[in-house]
Symmetry: C2
Subunit: 341 residues, 2 copies
Amino acid sequence: MSATIKDVAKLAGVSTATVSHFITKKRYVSDELGQRIDEAMKALGYKPNTIARSLKIKRSYIIGVVVPSISNPFFAEIVEQIQKIAGKYAYRIMLYNSNNDVAAEKRIMDSFLSAGVDGIIDVAPLQTQAQLDKSCGVPVVITDRPPFETKANIGFVCADNYKGAAQVADFLISHGYDRFAYFAGPVDRVPNARERLNGFTGRLAELGIEKELCQVYCGEYSFDSGYETMQKLLDKEDITQGNWAVFAPSDIMAWGAMEAAKTQSLKVPRDIAIVGFDNIFYSNYLYPALTTVENPTKELGQKSVELVIQAIDKHELLSGRKVILDAPLIERNSTFLHSQK
Amino acid sequence: MSATIKDVAKLAGVSTATVSHFITKKRYVSDELGQRIDEAMKALGYKPNTIARSLKIKRSYIIGVVVPSISNPFFAEIVEQIQKIAGKYAYRIMLYNSNNDVAAEKRIMDSFLSAGVDGIIDVAPLQTQAQLDKSCGVPVVITDRPPFETKANIGFVCADNYKGAAQVADFLISHGYDRFAYFAGPVDRVPNARERLNGFTGRLAELGIEKELCQVYCGEYSFDSGYETMQKLLDKEDITQGNWAVFAPSDIMAWGAMEAAKTQSLKVPRDIAIVGFDNIFYSNYLYPALTTVENPTKELGQKSVELVIQAIDKHELLSGRKVILDAPLIERNSTFLHSQK
DNA sequence: CTGAAAGCGCTAACAT
DNA sequence: ATGTTAGCGCTTTCAG
């Protein structure tokens, strides 16, 4: 059994109040007593019991973080940043994978509340707006999902997915592409996926491209889904007719698509162009390097923690605060100017 | 302020003991009272306060997990598995990145102890044996690092790094390679790095290969380090003389090495072969697909949690328990038979 | 400047 | 079968 504040107090010959105040620096303690307390703590190897402290002050200094899948580098990058910044503010994080399971996501939220977290960061949540909207007592920040109006204590941090996707349409058109496939994410469940879909097809329409020229396939934001969807496309379409470009709005999915194309001896971008979304670290080192849209993980993570912590520390309500970040296009080698063909 | 067990008891017209027992199912509660308690809980939106519970029972059901870097897919895969299995046993995890900083790693351990975790999984720790060896009150499992003898409550889960690396020597020799570069990890700080180095160079020696034929470079287990080290090698050596193979004992590092080779218009494996270590998911999709050694993340994660939880739940001492996993070679396209040249 | 003591929300003897 | 209550380790008001 490890030493408690009582043991320290006794050994130092002072009251527990004094020890507590000495540790938290909340009131002056004379040098002499401080000295004795210090020695006593060292002698006993005393470690303050955060649980007892939390119970008393009703603050755990823990932020709950849910992500769909930590093994997806996009989320891993966000989590890494959250952890880093949270540490600077002396907060810890409790991490959960929802595995893209809505029920799991809800259980996790409850578990967080029970665990007494001071705030929650929900990355790319699958829950419906109504589910998210009911306030849960602690501030929550929703990351990487388009904001909605709410009176609840919820903030949003997100890149501009609509614009991000729309600019891809501009880019592809101006580079001479005239046949398109859009590998939609889970449009039914993930609002971001809709946003991107609308951005891309909407802009295409504005540019006067007929609907039939852009095939839309629904899948998941995963390597495997990208792989399979590309196979479907190639089964169905004769890629040699026209200048084809595939927009797979997740780098990991685009990577899968690229691999599928390779197995059919297709060259990217010679035979077919591929564009991703997220700009994860590795996209720059694929073969060919992936043209993509930056989804700024560092800022996403940083803003998210800052928002929750601000809400926690200053008792500010987040109610609908939004941070919308830029999502610029990153041009690399998986697309090129067709006029150079 | 959310409802407490007292509120529930009052509303249901029972004692707090009954509510507590009803929740934990530790003693029989009549159907009628159970019914009323259930209703009261729902009406109040009651969520048990885990912190208070932990304080009382001296168990948090939290496992602390430290990894060098969560954005490294190898560690992400391990963490994902740890989280998954821990969940099955109703344990939560508290995650920390040490960023390859020994001081941070030690702070984190202390922080875990203060936070009252029931056990710790330390993945690829940088601390010295002596630092790790002093028991800290809770069971700790050290993952992905060779075991050492200890009386402390420490268990080990690790792949056979020596053999894993040694078989690469066998493989390369039998495939006709005759010039080698070994991109060592941080040999000074990471025991695994030493293990692999010894495995590779040791076997080479056993096979009668002269020392001068294998260059050893020290670096880090990172993409950038692989990249830079390859540049150094190419600056120094004329790769066209002999059949060169590079062993970068971390896939991420091997990937970096591969990219550096490409920038010099070198073809892998035609001009130079590359072998990695870890077999992360993405290695199969590099160009060319990476020949590597399997470092079984799933098993590593799973065994680690199972070991800690066993120690926690059954009060068994781990003292030196070891789980050593196989590290088989995965042959892909970044190496080939030179006789076919 | 320091100490005594109440109480955070829960569990588990002990009592009935 | 259920209730009463002490106490987990800490913070903080109130008193001195």
